[in-house]
Amino acid sequence: MTTTPMDGGQALIRALENEGVDLLFGLPGGAILPVYDPLIDSSIRHVLVRHEQGAGHMASGYAHATGRPGVLMVTSGPGATNAVTALCDAHLDSVPMVCITGQVPVGAIGTDAFQECDTTGITMSVTKHNFLVTEAQDIPRVVKEAFHIATTGRPGPVLVDIPKDIVDPGNPASAMEWSDDIEMDLPGYNPDTGVDKADIAAAADLIRSAERPVLYVGGGILKARAAEALRQLAELTGIHVVTTLMARGAFPDSHDLCLGMPGMHGNFTAVTAMQEADLLVALGARFDDRVTGRLDGFAPDARIVHVDIDSAELGKVRRADVAIRGDCRVAIEALVAELQADGLGDADRVAWRSRVSGWQERFPLVYEAWVPGQALKPQYVIERLRDLSPDDTIVASGVGQHQMWASQYWNFDHPYTWINSGGLGTMGYAIPAAIGAKAGMPDRMVWAIDGDGCFQMTAQELVTATVEGFPIKVALLNNSYLGMVRQWQEMFYDERYSEVFLSKDVPDYKMWAQSMGCEAMRVDDPDEIDAAITKANEIDDRPVVIDFRVMAEEKVYPMVPSGATNSDLVVPPLQADQPR
């Protein structure tokens, strides 16, 4: 085996190239500086962000859209701590990412050196795994292990902390011998993806006999690239599908069997079908509290089949009657084969189907009509955006009311077209995530649907978008409030509004966006909405921001109040008199 002498910095870049990395989101600084020199000669494109959190969310958006791991590189100390939110976000949403952080030289670790922080200590609980590399020779192996861990089993973020001396060509500690023969050493990591046949047979039996079954589909379906398998299962069995916030697009919204999003702001039919089901087949879903509502009142009559690649999810929240540890695609394909071979059973689901369609007729998603003099209806803005943009548009969202409306009113017919922060609920996610998605999928239209509170947290990345040439579009649903908190204060705190009003006039979003190189518009009148969206969709050489002035009083319905069971779903006032 031939080896090539090089320094640790060169080895790091070469190791990233070997992993197929084409894009790196980052921002240099003292400790990571030596790695930025060999980067000049690399095939990897670096995207220079304006804040390290942005780099993290860009990597996340890239990973969501492409299925490939997102990679970010930042310096030690504040560079690393700024990335922590994005790592935690990716950890909760199981997004494959690799984060390279600079560190002070090995000899300075533990001395409170300039820009030193305990990066591996700080990120231990927000990564799937992390490494502190202390020898230049170990860099290729650790990088390979990091990508392997990030992308296999239940995906997640992995951090590699690299002290400066082992990548600095001026330091003898950086000398190493590159070899193409890199062997991983992970004796405790076995991401088995096979499924147990007996479990599949038991699950099939429950499906055959269920009269009120629902397929409860989570983000794991997307991670497992299992959307097509899911469609086969649903169509073979005729069982309805609910797609959680993390799984929007995993099953087409326009499909007859799709009931849409369940949970706290799910639609009535999705929530109620789960609640009344006698069988929930949970596929890559984790019984999150935002889906279950009060746990002891959740789906009380349902037996549970639970498929997850992470065995720790099985039985964590709700006991499963059949627990299947394995990859969702493998499990679903096995289930389809089993049902095709031994039959679908003869359970009578006629009454159930008619109940479901009755709920769909009585409780569609609705909002009250716009009245002259009012600000825009945010739901209407999203509907127009949906109808005027291509079918395969990628939508990234921030966190709050606009996120829920986007999930509710967009029509997701393709997997990997919806990118949002589900687990951590990170405000400011939309703009950098949209940039990452656009960077990974340059031929697709990418809209960020954002709120004004979120926008102010990460808007500076629009500078990145302009300078680096990522023409994303931002629909800013601007109601001058932290809208979701305002909604809770209105509904549960006697309309006592505490610290939720931002400002009607400041900042001037149009001027701000223009100053960052974006095309910018402001829309106050419903009649101007279509023209603004059409104009935005025609621009492809720079980012676009549309400041839609929307109603602050508008609330997200339906809603399961915190602490209530899903049976106590609050429907919009328009539907309050409908028989359930």
Partner: protein, 169 residues
């Protein structure tokens, strides 16, 4: 330390981990953030210097055993977890203790010590240092026995354990 009664509230996990820096912090951090309580913890290298072994006694009032094991197993550096049911494990613990021992009470103390199978490690003017190895319950009993003499300082290791040998194997 209030050591466990050998009931089903406490389970012993023997966890083989990679012998790398920070691994103990990963295990301890996991227990802390998931709200799992550790009753006792002993750590030492194994005969293979790539691995260390942790003997963790888990309080199952804080979390179901299944969750503790599965979450531990997700740690990349955890290589193997053996769960030892109470009754199927050989458990040992070491205690060293300094007790008040005026000359006129020494015979009595040494008699108790002999009966328990302990050793005298050191003798001072009015104190003695003793050690005892045994099942945790016997250590508890001996500790209670010593209390009337006056315990000056006491240190226990926490338990280590291995599975009972299978007679057929």
């Amino acid at each position: 330390m209030n050591v466990a009664e050998p009931d089903y509230r406490y389970h012993t996990l023997v966890v083989t981990v990679e012998n790398k820096s920070g691994v103990l912090a990963r295990v301890a951090g996991l227990f802390a953030r998931r709200g799992f309580n550790i009753e006792s913890l002993a750590v030492a290298p194994t005969d293979d210097d790539r691995f260390s072994r942790l003997t963790i006694v888990v309080d199952l009032e804080s979390a179901p055993l299944d969750q503790v094991v599965k979450q531990l197993d997700k740690l990349v550096n955890v290589v193997e977890i053996r769960e030892l049911h109470p009754g199927s494990a050989v458990e040992r613990e070491l205690m060293i203790v300094t007790v008040e021992a005026e000359p006129d009470r020494r015979d009595e103390l040494v008699e108790q010590l002999d009966r328990a199978g302990g050793k005298v490690l050191s003798v001072g003017a009015d104190r003695m240092m003793l050690s005892l190895v045994g099942p945790p319950k016997r250590i508890d009993e001996f500790e209670n026995l010593l209390r009337p003499f006056g315990i000056v300082e006491l240190q226990r290791t926490g338990r280590v354990a291995l599975a009972v040998l299978d007679e057929d194997a």
